[in-house]
């Protein structure tokens, strides 16, 4: 079995888990869900780290690409989780302490 096929299995199964997990989220939480999920998609930073951190004679270009990718992904990750937290902090039940 090639790596691609193996990865495809993982991909499809993860899609199903995603559908199961998220289809039950109440409409009240859709915005935080979206911004939180958005932050998770910043996981691509892991790839950016590998591209930027790899060193070699001919790797100048890829290091610069990786550097920009890290900036982009960090904005996504840090901003996404922080703003989601800021929103969720505001959600209070009746009678909760302010």
């Amino acid at each position: 079995m090639s790596t691609l096929i193996f990865s495809l299995f993982i991909f499809v199964l993860a899609c199903f888990i995603g559908f199961e997990l998220i289809s039950k989220v109440p409409p009240t939480l859709h915005t935080p869900l979206m911004s939180g999920a958005n932050a998770i998609s910043g996981i691509t930073i892991v790839g950016a780290l590998i591209v930027a951190g790899h060193s070699g004679v001919d790797s100048q270009l890829s290091q610069i690409i990786g550097f920009v990718a890290i900036i982009f992904a960090s904005i996504n990750v840090v901003g996404g989780f922080m703003v989601t937290d800021r929103m969720l902090e505001m959600f209070k039940k009746k009678g909760d302490e302010k």
């Binding site: 915005t31 935080p32 869900l33 996981i43 691509t44 990750v77």
Partner: protein, 472 residues
């Protein structure tokens, strides 16, 4: 940082990293699960953030990573920008911010695919598998990047919210997408051909622009959800390229989340996804203002009159729309609601799925004004309650309460599920004028004999109502 690991343990390092990735995956899934309830959602988000942190730290031990200057600089710069944006943004501007973050996420994934490709000195050593995923990663990531920034521009008003289109644009878009896919196939056979690579990149960036430009302002919630899904897919593709399961799984979770939200939004507007993408519907100027408005009469109400009506009601439902947030009237609305509750009036909020400018946006805006989330009812929950409601206050909402969605098959919004406010004993519309809403459609509710209009700026009107309530 693998140099800090003792020589004897190095052979175990790759597997250890993978196991820790598995733990990070667990945190992501558990975090999303906790996002299912407002009571646990915050913890869920923090858990996901922890998963991300673990994933990043353990990656730094990857033996391929030997220089850290770029990494540290990149994380500091990006993290700072992200933190400032997250702290400063007004809750009304949340759709814009999510669009921007989406764009950066998609852009980063495209760059990862490109960087991975360019760091291999001889691309012919890459397998066809990884070349295909590299091409797809660049394609999806790039179109997410430009598409998100166009969506941002539309939401912000830099670019007209009107559907900008011309005949044949859809054909050009579909043609370009097919062209990119064909080029990716060529790229797989001949990865050394620089021209093919650049054309794929350029076309993908272009498709992002030309496919979002023709979509009208009213459809932006769908577009943002869809772009959110794409940014997840792009991360997955980047995972295929570098052979990293954590990226594949996390990306797939986000892709699924975005797709579900897209579906929910489409259903809430009774549109198919294809219709949103190719339909070019809705603008921000309302071109088709109803010409037959002149010969109908509306009943006006005043703050004093309305105060008496609501103070002696037993049940009041508030139907807020984005206009409420534009007028920054959530806080005074909350005060009005509190006064009514002190008098023993039952107060609930009925939230239409497209009440804000992204899924769930209105809930966040009301949460910001300290409205408890258990008072916020979604459309399916509130609709059976209107029959027993004395007064519905419709504030800054229009299309989502427009009865033509049920009665006029010719109307562009026909079939869209709405809040059935016309079933209540009385409705009061807070509005500046009789102008049609975002979708540019006249609203017969305004002329209904059970309806009263409260003209004026939503905030000023609510302030007047709030004061009038003191004297009742």
């Amino acid at each position: 940082m693998s140099q800090f690991i003792p020589e004897s343990l190095l052979p175990y390092l790759p597997d250890t990293i993978q196991i820790i990735y598995l733990i990070a995956t667990f945190f992501f899934i558990r975090g999303l699960k906790l996002l299912n309830s407002p009571a646990t959602a915050r913890k869920g988000n923090q858990l996901a953030a922890l998963g991300m942190f673990i994933g990043i730290v353990v990656t730094l031990f990857d033996q391929q990573i030997i220089s850290f200057e770029w990494i540290i600089a990149g994380i500091l710069i990006g993290g700072l920008i992200g933190a400032v944006l997250a702290k400063k943004v007004a809750m009304t501007a949340m759709p814009e911010l999510v669009a921007v973050f989406n764009g950066f996420g998609g852009g980063a994934s495209a760059l990862v695919a490109w960087g991975e490709f360019s760091r291999l000195v001889d691309p012919t050593t890459m397998t066809p598998d990884s070349l295909v995923t590299t091409g797809l990663g660049i394609f999806i990531g790039s179109l997410t990047f430009t598409g998100s920034f166009i969506a941002f521009g539309k939401l912000k008003g830099f670019i007209s919210g009107n559907a900008i289109t011309f005949p044949g644009l859809n054909i050009i878009n579909i043609g370009s997408m097919i062209a990119v896919l064909v080029l990716i196939a060529f790229f797989t056979f001949d990865p050394t051909n620089q021209t093919i690579f650049w054309v794929i990149l350029g076309l993908s960036l272009l498709i992002g622009i030309t496919s979002v430009i023709p979509i009208g302002g009213a459809d932006m919630p769908v577009v943002i959800s869809l772009l959110n899904s794409y940014s997840g897919l792009a991360a997955s593709m980047a995972g295929f390229v570098i052979g990293n399961n954590l990226l594949i799984i996390a990306g797939a979770l986000v892709g699924a989340a975005g797709l579900i939200l897209t579906q929910i939004m489409c259903k809430a507007m009774n549109r198919s996804l294809a219709n949103v993408i190719f339909g070019a519907f809705g603008g921000d100027s309302g071109g088709s203002a109803g010409g037959d408005a002149g010969d109908k009469t509306v009943r006006e109400t005043s703050a004093e009159d309305l105060a008496i009506q609501v103070a002696y009601a037993s049940k009041v439902v508030i139907a807020p729309g984005y206009g409420l947030a534009v007028a920054q009237a959530q806080h005074v609305l909350k005060e009005v609601a509190m006064k009514l509750e002190e008098r023993g009036v039952q107060v609930k909020y009925g939230i239409h799925p497209v009440a804000g400018r992204m899924p769930g946006h209105m809930n966040v805006l009301l949460a910001e004004a300290d409205v408890p989330y258990d008072q916020l009812l979604d459309m399916d929950q509130i609709n059976p309650e209107f029959k027993s409601t004395d007064v519905v206050l419709i504030i800054g909402a229009n299309d989502v309460v427009n009865p033509v969605a049920k009665t006029e098959p010719g109307s562009p919004i026909y079939g869209m599920p709405i809040l059935n406010v016309d079933e209540a004993k009385r409705t009061v519309v807070f509005k500046r004028s009789l102008s049609p809403g975002y979708a540019g459609i006249d609203n017969p509710l305004f002329y209904d004999e059970k309806n009263q209009m409260f003209f004026g700026d939503a905030k000023k009107s609510l302030q007047a109502l709030n004061e009038a309530l003191n004297d009742v």
